[in-house]
Amino acid sequence: MLTVIIIMSVGMIAGFILRKYKKLYQGLDKTVSYVIYLLLFLLGITVGQNETIIRNFHLIGLKALLITVASVGGSILLAAVVFHFFFRHDHIELGTEDDVHDGAEVSAKKLQGEDA
């Protein structure tokens, strides 16, 4: 965990120093996507290799899924409420300026449309 934070901080400092060179950031989102695909593939292999998880998945997996869905659902619900009352204004302001990924752009536009 600590290593990850240190590595990211180094990246952040490098990014901050080089922020004037816009060309460096053009392909960054795409590269991040590809690395995520690779990471998910590797995570899949680890899960597939774990015999305990695979063999008992239907039994304990169902309970785990139920707890996870309830936790995720509850936290997303409250986070949506917090966003609605405290963060919405900032989002609209910044959403128009930032060249974000199409998924976020769509939602930003949708939010603007609904709340304008």
Binding site: M1, T3, V4, I5, M8, S9, G11, I13, A14, G15, R19, L28, T31, V32, S33, V35, I36, Y37, L38, L39, L40, F41, L42, L43, G44, I45, T46, V47, G48, Q49, I53, F57, I60, K63, A64, L65, L66, I67, T68, V69, A70, S71, V72, G74, S75, I76, L78, A79, A80, F83, F87, R88, D90, H91, L94, D98, G103, A104, V106, S107
Partner: protein, 202 residues
């Protein structure tokens, strides 16, 4: 949605290869540690993007105190949701369900604590549940942003919102939210080793 499907396809291919390859014995040992290094590369790239993005620093200045509301709402929402469904989970009591939920995706540590305090079955369920939390976030972030706004995947990611799920959150919620995501992940990660034993101590 298209991106979620691509991610799901990569993950499913990995599971298949892992299950088949493990039986055949042709998966190199180094693969497990390799993903750690891939994560490092990813985090460096993400950091580079955040550092070069002047908007994110401005957001942290503008958001100031209300940023604390993000981890607070996630703790309350997770535990509340888990408490509601605990009656349907056979074989686990309320405390165990809450402790599993209180891992916030930090599966290695929370499952270890729960195994030690309550035995292997709740420990294994904790491991699975918290891995699922990470996987669900990775797969469904585009949908969560559409349903609940940019804080949606941060809530879903929980403690993982500072590392493994940060790249995809930054991609779909926008880079301005990467700082909030990081802050949230750090707070929840620090909280887990205190909260899980605390829940089980009653």
């Amino acid at each position: 949605m298209k991106n979620s499907l691509i991610i799901l396809a990569f993950f499913a291919a990995g599971v298949l290869l892992g299950a088949l390859g493990d039986a055949g014995g042709w998966i190199p040992e180094a693969l497990g540690s390799m993903s750690t290094y891939v994560l490092y590369v990813l985090m460096c790239l993400v950091g580079f993007g955040i550092g070069g993005d002047t908007d994110s620093l401005r957001v942290l200045k503008e958001t100031n105190l209300k940023i604390v509301l993000v981890p607070l709402s996630i703790v309350a929402g997770s535990l509340g949701g888990a408490a509601l469904i605990s009656v349907f989970v056979q074989g686990l009591d309320l405390q165990e369900v809450l402790a599993i939920s209180g891992g916030f995706g930090y599966y290695s540590l929370s499952s270890l604590f729960i195994t030690e305090l309550r035995g292997e079955l709740p420990g294994t369920i904790a491991l699975l549940a918290n891995i699922m939390r990470e996987i669900i976030t990775l797969l469904m972030t585009p949908l969560f942003v559409r349903w609940a706004g940019p804080l949606g995947p941060i809530a879903s990611g929980g403690a993982t919102s500072m590392d493994t799920t940060l790249p995809i959150i930054s991609l779909y919620s926008g880079k301005q939210y990467a700082v909030i995501s990081l802050f949230n992940g750090i707070v929840l990660t620090v909280l887990v080793p205190f909260l899980v034993p605390f829940i089980l101590s009653f």
